[in-house]
Subunit: 461 residues, 2 copies
């Protein structure tokens, strides 16, 4: 067979393309695994089949970029193809599909192969479906978490206490992270925080922070920021901690799946890999939040704390009110402005955001062993130390904007006036999110919704 | 955005490729659906994302062949991309993933979208997993079957009785189909048979028949063959009956899955679409066969007959001995030679193959309403009418070889002599299959295993 380099990247697994006739005569099927050898270089690749002879003639092998990078094939070079057996991880996935439990070794093998891009999207989808339908038990979740940690990069801070926090999401304008981090850092603890961008919400913490400073940092640069300020607030996507998680998210996205076991593993693996020793988990509960019932939230809380214990992180999970948006602004720029006002004790800030942020910081300080933690947190905010620390972090990450007034908000606006006089009974997270997204958030950073009233607020027609 | 035609076929769904930066700024994720418009032509495509700017620069859209065929994009042409909502079938798949039952309308929508290549491999994999883990009930299987029939081509034979037979597989050298078909045709009934090629066995019926005659025929040519001879024995792959089945098989292959509900739907949909009114199903049972327990075989038998009734085919399912290979030859050429010897009442033929074939033909004749069906079948064989009819079919399909002696068998051979004197207690289907495949079958047509002894046979050291 002769190589034909296609100069196309699949963004993942190594693939080679065969003409249908060759595939039939070699008895190879779509997604079969082969070893391919060009000169002395050899790798494993997955078969793709075409009946388009203008692209791949018989006796030709189309080489995608990832495969070419491995075997350094030249156009027209002779290559040798041999069918090989499936990796063991396939059998373990198949075992889980039949409703069986996976051992630590089996789970590790699956996660290792996902990390090394040895499994196809279809194979990973079977794994995700199986984990979704046959919920993972505690042993499996712990094995999953450990495997995710072991197969990625790890940070460590020489035995120092490292704090972290995480919110499982589902509530708009919930930027408490940006209040908690400067408080903890100002209290003298390390808190290197990585955040995600929005997937289905109007803004993720990374999207909001990006209005104020640079958030794309390498692990090295992140360390320098933490050394300077005790903290950071960067985007976690380029860190390569628990990389299998990002790969799995791709196949979960089309169905909007988020199996509980996998969510637990993903959250705690990232914390562990980032060196966390103490971690606070915020579980907002309410209609329209990710978790709608207190009972389910309680089960989840227990699981978080158990897995944390098994992987040697002190985890405290708390159940908070998720029935309405936390801050006033929803959308990257509106949230960033909110944040600066709130931290600077400006009266335009959001009381609820400040209260929740300070409360969470107190909880985390308590977990870290601080005496009188709630008063410590409160004092750090009221004295302006939190605002000062936050500004330090912005500068260390690469300041873009630290004046609330200068943040660019979208040009067009509509004021929505209540049609009745009375008291606000409920606010729908989902509808507010939807409106903010339709307005253009998060890609249009200035777009969003600004709430003048919250739950129990008085409105006049 | 400017079009860049990639001249690459995906062999299925329509795909466009975006630069990662554009995807982020448009808030598009891998596998999102968009509408794409070039001039007046518009279609729906799935997003693929690359970070390789040498392939797709910012503001460029890579157009795969299937998409280009729809929108006739020219290189550099301005195209417009808009995000669109997911098809309803995705929500139905998600419903099944949560363990709910699907209605007829929902099932139809899924199968229709699979047939029209509107679902990605990942989405189809979720469907297959869900059907595997939450077994389909009778209503769902019937809806599945009807949808498969309705979304493909259909044959009809003007109200005449049309016979068919199917074996669920798993037993080597089981070429009874080639005995049954000429008997039924010689008895005066229509029996247009389509067969598959081997997937995991050393030979499928189509592989064996291909040694003797052409098996690739269009529906039109198949009709002509049936008009001439009452029967045919062609490869079903190019017929476009129940096309969704072939699409689903692709995502089942990596895990070697074969969910029962889907198997029932697939088999009976193909029979229904091919115009069958009477159908015999052979369920071989034994260690190493596809079905190992009589109890499971019985459940399956009942399901086949029930689904048959619901789609208006008279189905008779019978449980047969699947504990050892049926014929002597295993592998395309060895089986073809076996077949000619057997049909021609040559003493080198296989008694077991002849007996089973004649018995199955009798069962099918009985289902068709024939009186004294077993004797009719026996007489057709003994009088040489079956052999004559078989030859007619070979000629009508395009004869390659009808002399057993002239069939080319592999050059190299090893005789395996028993190490003990005694009686054969068991023969492993799986091991025999494995050896035949390792020898090269089915792609190397002359390769395989030839059994001199069967179960209960006397062997001398």
């Amino acid at each position: 067979m002769n190589a034909k380099n296609l100069n196309i990247s699949t963004g993942g697994i190594r693939i080679i393309l065969l003409n249908e006739k060759d595939a039939i005569s070699m008895n190879l099927k779509q997604s079969d695994r082969v070893s391919i050898k060009a000169g002395r270089n050899k790798t494993v690749a997955i078969i793709d089949i075409t009946n388009d002879s203008s692209l791949i003639k018989q006796k030709e092998v189309g080489i995608f970029k990832e495969t070419k990078d491995e075997i350094k094939s030249k156009n027209g070079q002779k290559v040798e193809i041999k069918i090989i057996t499936k990796p063991n991880s396939i059998y373990y996935i198949s075992k889980k599909l039949r409703g069986k439990r996976l051992t630590e070794k089996e789970m590790h093998e699956i996660i290792k192969d996902i990390t090394n891009k040895k499994l196809t999207d279809v194979e990973m989808t079977y794994f995700v479906s199986a984990c979704y339908m046959y919920e993972l038990n505690m042993k499996e979740i712990v094995a999953f978490t450990k495997s995710m940690v072991d197969t990625g990069k790890k940070l460590n801070f020489n035995g120092r206490k490292v704090a972290d926090k995480h919110c499982i999401g589902g509530v708009s304008g919930n930027r408490t992270t940006c209040i908690v981090i400067p408080i903890i850092a100002a209290a003298g603890y390390l808190i290197p925080k990585t955040s995600s961008r929005s997937i289905t919400s109007p803004a993720g913490t990374a999207d909001t922070m990006e209005i104020l400073c640079e958030v794309n940092h390498s692990i090295k640069s992140m360390r320098q920021i933490v050394n300077k300020t005790n903290a950071c607030l960067v985007w976690g996507g380029s860190m390569d901690v628990a990389p299998s998680d990002d790969t799995l998210i791709k196949v979960e996205h089309p169905m909007s799946l988020d199996p509980v076991g996998q969510m637990l593993a993903s959250v705690l693996a990232k914390k562990k890999a980032a060196g966390a020793t103490h971690c606070l988990i915020d579980i907002p509960v309410g209609p329209g939040a990710k978790i709608e019932s207190k009972f389910k939230a309680f089960i989840l809380k227990r699981k978080f704390e158990k897995v944390g214990k098994a992987i040697d992180i002190k985890v405290k999970a708390i159940i908070t009110d998720g029935s309405e948006p936390v801050g006033n602004g929803i959308g990257p720029a509106l949230e960033a402005r909110d944040l600066l006002w709130t931290l600077n004790n400006d009266k335009r800030g959001s009381t609820k955001l400040l209260d929740k942020g300070t409360y969470l910081a107190g909880k985390l300080l308590k977990l870290l062993g601080e005496k009188d933690p709630y008063n410590v947190a409160k004092e750090i905010v009221e004295s302006g130390l939190a605002a000062k620390k936050f500004n330090e972090i912005l500068v260390a990450q690469g300041l873009k904007e630290n004046s609330a007034e200068k943040i660019k908000i979208g040009k067009y606006k509509v004021n929505v006036i209540s049609e009745k006089t009375g008291i606000v009974k409920a606010i729908s997270n989902m509808e507010i999110s939807r409106i903010a997204r339709i307005a253009g958030a998060p890609s249009d950073t200035g777009a969003g919704v600004y709430l003048k009233k919250h739950h129990s607020g008085y409105v006049v027609k």
